[in-house]
């Protein structure tokens, strides 16, 4: 019972660990925190004062003021007498000596880690001319830092770092799931993507098969806002792609990324409301899944430049292969157990048989009594399952089927003399019936899958709905149902062979294309901007490339309605633009660069999905 209790608690803790935190209010809470901080900060000694009486506090305050004044006088004296002190705080002076703001007052400054020296913190002033460099081992009791001018290279580095930080702040949280690698399992991600992972599917970097719990991480990019925030574009070898969504799938154990075994594949279903049978599977090696952690640490978002490669077709509606199960070894047992003393033969009897198991056993004993010491007959709904194959019995309802079957075409059955030629008509009828049954099952499966994608769960009603649906299917309406089903298709199905980036796309068939450039204000550098062109009527995003001090867009369909979206740096601040236009002019001027915050930018790009 104690074990039960521990299990309950462990189960609850495990579930809790799997839950993703709600980060939607983080920025709002941080703003509230800032207000609290500005009102109440640095009273390290305040708690010790709590026991003092009202008068005691006043006395203490007076003493504190005297101490501060005294300390200031001593400090000033020390400054005039000492040109250098032994502090570890590296302090450099600003060019502009008129301004000397203190650290505490500079709330508008930007603090970033120095890209060259990891143990340095750069505090960049809002005027972009000065910087405080604070080393990690700085003595906190040392005099305040002074300022130095940044070189152009340092400014560029700082801008890149600032944009990288900005991008990190606008990313969606990565969804994490835990599955047992030995068993495999299904994952339904937040936006409806379904992954079916087979058992023992993962290996580590050394090729060793992983067992036990594996963390599977999923990122879904179906909305423009998410694509732009992740700087994802839909281009393959400079050709425009129209996308049905992008996915990033990674798995890790103990922090190390895993590969998919070459003999295994993952079934993927990507939800859609506008099914297009021409969609294909694209993947990318630009950011291999096994390179480091599934984070943006090694591939800065603003540098992302994925070139998608065509990797496969959709898992199309399966076509019946024209084969059926021939009871060629009608009288053969499905298993023979050999012991030292005897040989036991086990036969399977179809549930469609009118004979009882005892009657069949008697017949078999007469026939095979010399071969086997013991004969056992077991009634099974589907005798073929005993050997691992699946038999679709079709319309053959009354037949005394015993034992195993072989799956082959009618021609093969006749050629190998499994059946007699005169039985051809019978088996042709069976093949037809089997094909209908097969199609029904596939439709039922897809129908169920679509219901699950819609509702994310599979309540009992779903199975009832599938049953009713399949029951209503008649052979002559099968084709109509098939066409109707394709039209209502709710997901793109793919088989993926490796982890990493996955994109569901098709090539744009637009032939009339053009190039254009955008001109940014003269005081900014184009190479400090990340920009995309987002298409209004088709689902596609294409990247902008820096050309001199312009941003160029190539191979863009003429007359297309688009938004040009950009994010970059101006005077030490992050600025953005988003402008709607119709492609036609060779040059477009962007004058309205607005200072932005991660929240404001996310809000702005969310409009892309409304239009």
């Amino acid at each position: 019972m104690q074990q039960d209790n521990n299990d309950i608690e462990n189960n609850l803790r495990q579930l809790e660990n799997q839950q993703l935190p709600d980060l939607s209010n983080m920025d709002k809470h941080w703003q509230q925190m800032q207000q609290m901080l500005s009102a109440d900060i640095k009273p390290k000694a305040a708690r010790k004062l709590s026991f003092l009486s009202f008068y005691g506090r006043r006395l203490f305050l007076a003493a504190a003021i005297i101490t501060v004044v005294f300390a200031a006088l001593v400090y000033r004296y020390a400054q005039t007498n000492t040109t250098k002190n032994s502090t570890n705080l590296i302090a450099k002076k600003s060019i502009d000596k008129k301004e000397n703001p203190s650290i505490q007052n500079n709330l508008q400054n930007t603090a970033i880690l120095n890209p060259k020296e990891e143990n340095q913190l750069l505090i960049q002033h809002s005027n972009n001319n000065t910087v405080l460099v604070v080393t990690a081992d700085s003595d906190l009791q040392s005099p305040p830092a002074t300022e130095v001018a940044m070189t152009e290279a340092e400014k560029d580095e700082a801008a890149k770092k600032m944009i990288a930080t900005f991008y990190n702040n606008i990313q969606k949280p990565i969804q994490e799931f835990t599955i047992n690698a030995d068993k495999g399992g299904s994952i339904i991600a937040n936006e409806g993507t379904v992954f079916t992972i087979p058992a023992s599917a993962f290996t580590d970097q050394d090729g060793k098969i992983i067992s036990g719990d594996v963390e599977v991480m999923v990122e879904e990019f179906y909305k423009y806002a998410d694509m732009v925030a992740a700087n994802l574009t839909t281009v393959s070898d400079n050709k425009q792609l129209l996308t049905g969504g992008m996915i990033r799938l990674t798995a890790k154990v103990d922090g190390k990324n895993l590969n998919l075994r070459s003999s295994k594949d993952i079934k993927l279903a990507m939800p859609t409301t506008t099914y297009d049978p021409e969609m294909r599977l694209f993947t990318s090696e630009s950011e291999p899944a096994n390179a480091g952690m599934a984070s943006y640490a090694s591939y800065a978002v603003q540098n992302r430049n994925i070139d998608w490669d065509l990797a496969g077709q959709q898992d199309v509606f399966p076509i019946y292969d024209g084969k059926t199960n021939f009871p060629d070894d009608l009288d053969q047992p499905y298993v023979v157990i050999k012991t030292i003393r005897k040989r036991i033969a086990k036969f399977a009897l179809s549930d469609k048989s009118s004979l009882t198991t005892d009657q069949m056993e008697k017949i078999l004993k007469e026939k095979f009594g010399d071969y086997y010491d013991e004969i056992k007959v077991k009634r099974q709904i589907d005798p073929g399952r005993s050997s691992g194959s699946i038999i679709y019995r079709g319309t053959i309802e009354k037949e005394n089927v015993i034992g195993d079957s072989s799956r082959m075409t009618l021609e093969q059955a006749i050629r190998t003399r499994v059946i007699d030629k005169k039985e051809t008509a019978l088996y042709m009828e069976r093949i037809k019936a089997d094909s209908i049954l097969y199609l029904k099952r596939v439709i039922a499966y897809r129908f169920l899958n679509a219901l699950q994608i819609e509702q994310k769960t599979a309540p009992k009603e779903n199975f009832q709905a599938v049953y009713n649906y399949t029951k209503s299917i008649s052979p002559d309406s099968l084709e109509r149902i098939y066409n109707d089903y394709v039209r209502k298709q709710k997901a793109y199905s793919f088989t993926i062979k490796k982890m990493g980036w996955i994109n569901c796309d098709k090539y744009s068939n637009c032939s009339n294309k053009t190039n254009f450039v955008i001109n940014l204000p003269v005081d900014v550098k184009a190479d400090k901007f990340v920009s995309q062109v987002v298409f209004i009527s088709t689902h596609s995003v294409m990247p902008g490339r820096t050309l001199n001090n312009q941003i160029g867009f190539q191979h863009i369909p003429l007359d297309a309605g688009v938004y040009v979206v950009g994010l970059g740096e101006r005077n030490g601040k992050v600025v953005s633009f988003m402008q709607k236009l119709r492609v036609g002019r060779s040059e477009v001027n962007i004058n309205d660069l607005q200072e932005t915050t991660p929240e404001a930018f996310r809000k702005k790009i969310a409009e892309l999905d409304i239009n």
Partner: protein, 186 residues
């Protein structure tokens, strides 16, 4: 993001707002989950976390133990959660009833229910029972520690825990009988 904890901590010790922001956002995802367990809504959770972070920023100068920042922050956050609950629940009544009955929940139930749904159910527990349950199950407090923190006896704490499990069992099993979850391994 390139994160260097010692630098962030030093920045916080100097009241640098950017380092404070980094520390705040670094621990927000993990700690807001803790706070959400004790608050009814996102605003309540935010209030608890902000109170905790204010305490942390005030006393970060005293932080010495290298490498134990996470545990130190979590300790403060949990105490803020308890303080928050204490304010809401005016007193936790002592109960003399003996707890002999152990409650077990079928492990299958956990396969058909999500953490969010469990949190909802826990949110429906009587306030004091919910606090004891959270402290015992998720924070790892012993009944003695819970008793000391909430000013109740060990027996009362045990009673609340048992009561919480009973309610959870009935609600979870009720839930699992009405729905089937597919998103599970195997």
């Amino acid at each position: 993001m390139n994160i260097n904890i010692p630098i962030i901590v030093r920045g916080c010790q100097q009241n640098d707002i950017h380092c404070q922001e980094q520390l705040y956002k670094l621990f927000y995802p993990e700690m807001i989950k803790v706070c959400s367990r004790y608050a009814n809504d996102s605003d309540g959770a935010g209030t608890i976390f902000n109170n905790a972070m204010l305490r942390i920023f005030k006393s970060i100068g005293e932080y010495k133990e290298e490498g134990k920042l996470n545990a130190w922050i979590k300790k403060i956050v949990v105490h803020c959660c308890i303080d928050f609950c204490k304010k809401k629940v005016l007193y936790v009544q002592n109960i003399d009833e003996e707890v002999n009955e152990e409650v077990s929940i079928s492990s299958g139930v956990f396969n058909v229910i999500s953490a969010k749904e469990i949190q909802k159910i826990i949110g429906l527990l009587p306030a004091s029972t919910g606090i004891v349950f959270n402290m015992y199950v998720y924070e790892g407090f012993t009944h003695k520690q819970i008793g000391e923190n909430l000013g109740i006896s060990d027996g009362t704490s045990k009673w609340h825990l048992s009561e919480a499990k009973k309610i959870l069992k009935s609600k979870m099993e009720n839930f699992s009988s009405t729905s089937t979850k597919v998103n599970a391994a195997g």
